[in-house]
Symmetry: C2
Amino acid sequence: MVITETQPPMEGDAATSKKAAKKAAKAVEKQQKKAEHKGSTTQNEAAEVDVAEGKYGVLKMIQSSGEHRDRVYVDVKDLGVSLEGKDVWVRARLQYSRAIGRQCFAVLRQTSSTVQLLIRVNEQVSKQMVKFIGNVAKESIVDILATVVKTSSPVESCTVKLVELIGLQVWVVSSAKSKLPLQIEDAARPETDDDPEALKIRVLQETRLDNRVLDLRTPANQAIFRLEAGVCKLFRDILTKKGFVEIHTPKIISAASEGGANVFTVSYFKSSAYLAQSPQLYKQMAIAADFDKVFTVGAVFRAEDSNTHRHLTEFVGLDLEMSFKYHYHEVLDTIGQTFTDMFRGLQDHYAAEIATVGQQFKVEPFKFLDPPLRLEFPQAISMLKEAGVNVGEEDDLSTPDEKLLGRLVRAKYDTDFYMLDKYPLAVRPFYTMPDPNNPKASNSYDMFMRGEEILSGAQRIHDPDFLTERAKHHGIDISKIAAYIESFRLGCPPHAGGGIGMERVVMLYLGLDNIRKTSMFPRDPKRITP
Amino acid sequence: MVITETQPPMEGDAATSKKAAKKAAKAVEKQQKKAEHKGSTTQNEAAEVDVAEGKYGVLKMIQSSGEHRDRVYVDVKDLGVSLEGKDVWVRARLQYSRAIGRQCFAVLRQTSSTVQLLIRVNEQVSKQMVKFIGNVAKESIVDILATVVKTSSPVESCTVKLVELIGLQVWVVSSAKSKLPLQIEDAARPETDDDPEALKIRVLQETRLDNRVLDLRTPANQAIFRLEAGVCKLFRDILTKKGFVEIHTPKIISAASEGGANVFTVSYFKSSAYLAQSPQLYKQMAIAADFDKVFTVGAVFRAEDSNTHRHLTEFVGLDLEMSFKYHYHEVLDTIGQTFTDMFRGLQDHYAAEIATVGQQFKVEPFKFLDPPLRLEFPQAISMLKEAGVNVGEEDDLSTPDEKLLGRLVRAKYDTDFYMLDKYPLAVRPFYTMPDPNNPKASNSYDMFMRGEEILSGAQRIHDPDFLTERAKHHGIDISKIAAYIESFRLGCPPHAGGGIGMERVVMLYLGLDNIRKTSMFPRDPKRITP
C-alpha cells in the first residue's frame, strides 16, 4: 500500500501521522472498491511497483515542524510563457479533476485565477498517482510540482490561457469533504440569459449565505471584496490628503442617538445601554474639540425590521464631518469631489476586479461627472412632475421616485452620481440648519448612485439656543438631549457632514441587485449567522 | 449703543439677528456695570463716536447665507516672517485675553498652535473695541483681521514665536459660556515635577472625561489623536503593501465566540445576540474563503469588570490573519516587521506630535530593533528566575512579571518591543496549534511594548478532526462550536494571526499611564458617557 507509506515531502518527521495515514487509507480503499466494482485490475496494480512512490499522497497536517523557506511557490496569476519549461511549485485549490484512463485533467484555482493541470502516466507518473488525483475532493488545497508548458491553443476555460501545468508531484495539504453544500461552478455561473442553451442552475442567496466560506471563493466574490477594500482605502486616502483626521467613535452609548426608535439595547453590567445608530454626535463633538475635519469608518446598527435588497441591521459607515468658514457648500464640494476621486480611483486601480465581477453579473459601467452634478430639490420635483409623477414640494422622495429620478438624471445629464441639495426643512431632523433664504428649505442634501441614496447629510445647527428652539419645535424632550446641546456651549465652528453606507456604494458602483452581495457576513432581521 | 448696531462683516443680510443683538447688548451691559462699579467714564465713552464701529462685535450665526470664498484665512501654524506686514484673517479659539488700559493682550489657538494677538487703541481701534475683546469668553471662536509683525524677542509662551498679530477687526463666531468646567491651561499643564515652584493644579481624569470636548483641545490631546490616526494608517498601509485585503467582520454574532464569559448580550428583535469579543472566527473564515491575508480594524467588546489603567470594555482591534506555507514564523516575521515599520513611520512622520505630547508628559523615546527581537518562553522564564522571581515553566506570566520582564529585556537588548514565542500549551485556547516538537509548548506568541502585552496570537488548528480532539480535551461542548469546526471541512490552508489593541499601542508608544488617554470617548465598566 504505497499511499499510506508516503512521506510528506517537506515536514521534518519521518512517520506519516495516524490521521493522515487513515485518510489516505480510506482514499485508497475507495479507489479499490470502485475498481472492483468495475472489475478493473487494481489488485494487480497494487502489487506492482509504484514508480511514483513518494511523489503523491496526503500531506501530514502542517504543524510548523520545519521552515522550508527555500521552496519557492509561484502564484497562479503569474504563470506565463516566461516560465516555459520550468518546474514550479504551486499551492492552490483543486477546482476540478477527472481521471480518464491514463491521464487526469484538472483545474487549479487561486483567488480569481485558474490554470489547467494535466497528469499523464509515464516513466515517473504511475496509474495509481493519476487515479489518486482523480479522486481528491474538489476544493481541497494541494501542493503541485509541475512543468510549465505552452498550450497549442489558448485555454478558454481558464484565466491562464497560454500555458498549462504538467504535474510531477501532487500532495493534498487540506482535504475538503467530498459532498459540498454548493458547487463553486454553480455559484459562479454568469447571470446573463443571452444564451438560451445555457445551464440555468443557480445557487439561492440563502444557500450562498449559509455556506458563505464556499460562496466567497467565486471569482466574482473574490473581486467584490477586494474592490470593497479599495473603496475604504480610497475614502480614507483622499480625505487624509485633504487634512481630515481619522477618529474612532464608541458603538456602546448611554442614550439612543435619534430618539429611541430602531435602536438595539445591550445589557451593560447591572444596567443597559444602546448600540450607536450613527457616529454623528461624536463626529460633531470632535469638531467642537478642534479636530476641524474628521472621518471615521466603522460599524453602525439599525434595529429596523426592513427586509429589502438594500437594508442591513449592521453595516459599515463611512462618515465625515467638517468645519467650514461661511457656507456648507464648502463641505458639499469636498464630499462631491471625494466621490469623484473615488470613482476615478476604482476605474484606474480596480479594472481587473470590475471585469471579473462583470463576467458573472451584467455590470453597466458606472458613469460620473467631474465636477459632480448638483441639483436642488425643486429641480428634482419639476423633473418628476414633468415625468407625470404627483409629488409635493415639501414631501420627502419615495424610494420609487428616487429610482425614477435617477433614470431621468442619467438620461438628461449622463451621470450615475449626483447630489441633491436643499431638502425641505420639514422632512429633516431637528439638528438640520434651516435655509436662511427660504423658510421651507434646509441646508441639507442626499447623494445618489444609480438612483439609490448612499449619503445623507446637512449643515448642523451649532448654536445651542437655536438648537434648543428647533428641538422644541420638533416636540423633542430637551432633557434627553441636554448633553448634546451643552457641547455647543463651549464654542463650536459651523460644520456640516454626512454618512455613507459602504456596502451600498459597492453594490451600486458595480450595479449589483442585493446588499448581501457586498457584505461579507451580512446581518438582517432574519440572519445573524454565520 | 454701537455694538448692537454692528453689522456682521460678511453674512449677506443687513440686520443683525435678534440673538446676536441680545448677546452683544448683554456683553456691553456687563462692561457698563463693571465700569460703573469702578467709577470710570463709560457713560461718556458710550456717547462718544466709536472709531471702530463695524470692526468688532458678535457675528450673526453663520447659516450659509453667502459663500464668501474670496476671503482667505491663514492657519496659525503658517504665520511666520514671510507674512510680515501683511493683513491676514485668522479663525481661531481665543485662548486668553486681558485688556489693561488702552491695550489687550490675547492668545489665539488652533489645534496645537498658538500665536500672540495685541490690540491697541489708536486711530482705527477704539477703547470700546479693546474692552470688547477683553470681555469675550475664553474658548470662543473668533475671526480676527490683523497685521503680521515681527517680534523683538521670541514669544516663549506661544508656538508661533517670531511674529505676533496686531488686531484690526475682531468678530465672535461662536461664544463659549463664561464659566468653563475646566481650564485648558490647567488641563495642558506639564506633568513634570522638576520645578518645585511649578503650579500644581491638575485636572482629574474623571473631570477631563466628563468634559471631553474641552479636554481634547489641549495640545497634547490634539497630538495624541493625530498620532493614533497615524497608527491606523501605517498598520493598513504596511499590510496592504504586503498583499493583505481589508475585510469587515460583524459585531453582532449569534453565539459567544469564546465560551460565553465576558460577553455583552444584545436584544435582537424577538431574540437575543452577542457583541463579538474578537473578529477571529471571521478572519479565519476569510482565510478558508481564499482571501489569503486579511486585516480588519474595528470595535471589539469585552464585558470584563476590570477597572485598571489598561482595560476598556470597547476598544479598537487591529486584527490580522494570514495563511502560510510551512511555518507560522512566516506570519510571526510579517507581524514583527509590521511593527518595526510602524514604529519607524511614527518616528519619521509624527515627530511634531510626539514632541507636543512630550511637552506635557514625560515621554521616554520608544526604542525598537530591526529586525525585532524574538525570545522564546523558556528564555523569559530563565530571565525572571535569574531576577529572583519564582515562576513555573507552564504557567502564564502575571502582569507584574510581564512588566519586570519588559525592564529586563530593555536592559539586556535595548528595545521596548519584543515578541515572546512558544507559550505553554496549557495556558492557550483550544484552537492553538501545539508545538510538534514539544508536547508542553504551542505555536503561539504574545508581543510587548514597554512590558505590556499588546498582541496575542498563534497558529490556529486548521484540521477539523484535530480541532475537535483539542476542543474535547478542553472540555468544550462540541455542539456549540460545530459551525466553527465545520468551516475547516471545506479545505483550509495553515494559518496564523493576531489581534492588537490599538489604544494600548498608542498609550505604550507614547509612554502614557492610562488607556483612557488614548481612547477619544473611553468605555469602561463605570463609564458610557459622553
